[in-house]
């Protein structure tokens, strides 16, 4: 217990770091994921190809490699001077967006064709049909898988700790290195992650339940 209490400031620092990293990356992955899904079902071939390449590339790259690229290669070529936090968010957000996009696209596939036809026959344009009718329904189907993806994102965020980003995992390394009982540190860190992932799961379950009631 005293590891936690003695180093509470450090723990809190790491906890807030992980929360921040996770939530900003999650927001990015959701926004990009919607875009990816929209492109994948778009009537414009170039957009479909772009989205397919994005998904294939990111889904098949180990996330650690992605972090390496983001932290070491990207600043040299593209974004000199970008903070490690922003780079980590970029890596994590882009990586997860590929999965979110796929989950949403499967959601889109599950929406009966008649829904889009009804929307089109009312005079909605393609973007309107997607935004007002298809994606909201696809999102409901995709809610559970996206919940799991957000849990996975939280766990993947630990990798950022190895790249100089303040988070739980980085604090764990620091504490372990300074001679604290490794096992005890691990337990507290694990509990902290568990707390975050538990909250995310509950949140998604609540959302799913509320949307299920509303129809």
């Amino acid at each position: 217990m005293h590891v936690l209490l003695d180093n509470f400031a450090l723990f809190r620092h790491g906890f807030v770091g992980t929360l921040l990293l996770t939530s900003v990356s999650a927001a990015l992955s959701l926004a990009l994921g919607v875009l990816v899904a929209a492109c994948r079902v778009s009537p414009v071939p170039a957009l479909r190809i772009l989205a397919t390449v994005w998904v294939t590339l990111l889904r098949n790259t180990p996330v650690t490699l992605l972090f390496l690229v983001a932290v070491f290669a990207a600043p040299r070529i593209l974004f000199p001077g970008t903070s490690h936090f922003a780079l980590a968010v970029g890596a994590l957000g882009c990586y997860t967006s590929a999965f979110v996009g796929e989950a949403l696209r499967r959601g889109v596939d599950s929406v009966p064709l008649g829904q889009a036809e009804a929307a089109r026959s009312l005079g909605m344009t393609f973007p309107q049909t997607l935004r007002l009718v298809v994606l909201p329904q696809a999102g409901r189907t995709a809610l559970a898988p996206i919940g799991s993806l957000m849990v996975a994102l939280t766990k993947n965020s630990a990798i950022a700790g190895s790249f100089d980003v303040t988070d739980l995992f980085a604090e764990q390394r620091r504490l372990s290195a300074t001679g604290h009982d490794v096992l005890e540190v691990f337990v507290w860190i694990a509990l902290a992650y568990l707390l975050i992932t538990f909250v995310i799961s509950e949140l998604f379950q609540l959302l799913e339940h509320r949307l299920a009631v509303a129809r």
Partner: protein, 265 residues
């Protein structure tokens, strides 16, 4: 080549002449394939403003496809379609605008499952017609009243019976103030006891002078509400005539055969 006599594209009988006689929907030499399947063959059809045309024919004859080409849910391979004097645009905003003028009612209702009944009827008005929400809701409520489901406005489609859902779908289409309404077997998915409530709404619509193209197996509706019956087989319009003449003395063998099967089986 068809072995049956094909009557002229335009109605000529007394009762077949609708109020104005001015052409609203014109299909001219329309052909459509699904792969190797030739589903619409040289379709010429003119629907006048205020006219009610009922399309009948055996399964697979191309009735749904015909209906769906009119608002370009299906593209055509050759020929031309125009609505109110304007040719159907290609994809894009122009097409969307035209579709707003063509109401469509589907066999499977296709109400937006994530929206309430009221929202189903206001969505198009607000997003496509850009009506203010209040105006849209007022219109929606009066339409829901007109089709007899005003008590269901805040429910979700899944909470309604099939007949109620289809009436909401009709209200949703009417909310766009369409020039013409297309119905593709609107009662085929309904339990028998609900068919009449939907047909009654459609009859009222016909009496109010709405231009309608109705694909249906309800011969009673065809007799009582149609100005003209169009009989299709194998992708062709084989015969067309006012309902009383069509049902009492069909000319083509295909039509005779079809009628004998559905009228006394």
């Amino acid at each position: 080549m068809s072995d049956s006599p094909v009557s002229p594209a335009s109605p000529r009988s007394e009762r077949a002449v609708p109020p104005s006689g001015e052409p609203l929907v014109v299909l001219d030499g329309v052909n459509k394939h699904f792969g190797a399947l030739h589903v619409l063959r040289d379709i010429d059809l003119t629907v006048a403003r205020g006219e009610v045309v009922v399309v009948i024919g055996p399964s697979g004859s191309g009735k749904s496809t015909l209906c769906r080409t009119i608002n370009r849910l299906e593209t055509i391979d050759s020929g031309a379609i125009s609505i109110d004097g304007r040719p159907l645009p290609q994809e894009g905003r122009e097409l969307a605008r035209l579709r707003a003028d063509v109401g469509m009612v589907f066999q499977s209702f296709n109400l937006f499952t994530h929206k309430t009944v009221l929202e189903n009827v206001t969505l198009g008005q607000i997003k496509v017609r850009k009506s203010p929400r209040e105006t849209a809701e007022r219109t929606a409520r009066s339409l829901l009243d007109r089709v007899g489901v005003s008590g269901q406005a805040d429910k979700y489609p899944a909470q309604l019976s099939g007949g109620q859902q289809q009436r909401v779908a009709i209200a949703r289409a009417l909310a766009m103030e369409p020039k013409v309404m297309l119905f593709d077997e609107p009662t085929s998915a309904l339990d028998p006891e609900m068919i009449n409530e939907v047909l009654e709404v459609m009859r009222q619509l016909a009496r109010d002078g709405m231009t309608m193209v109705v694909v249906t197996h309800e011969m009673g509706f065809a007799r009582s509400a149609a100005h003209r019956v169009v009989f299709m087989a194998d992708g062709r319009i084989v015969e067309q005539a006012p309902p009383d003449r069509f049902f009492s003395s069909p000319r083509s063998e295909r039509a005779k055969d079809f009628l004998s099967k559905i009228l006394h089986h």
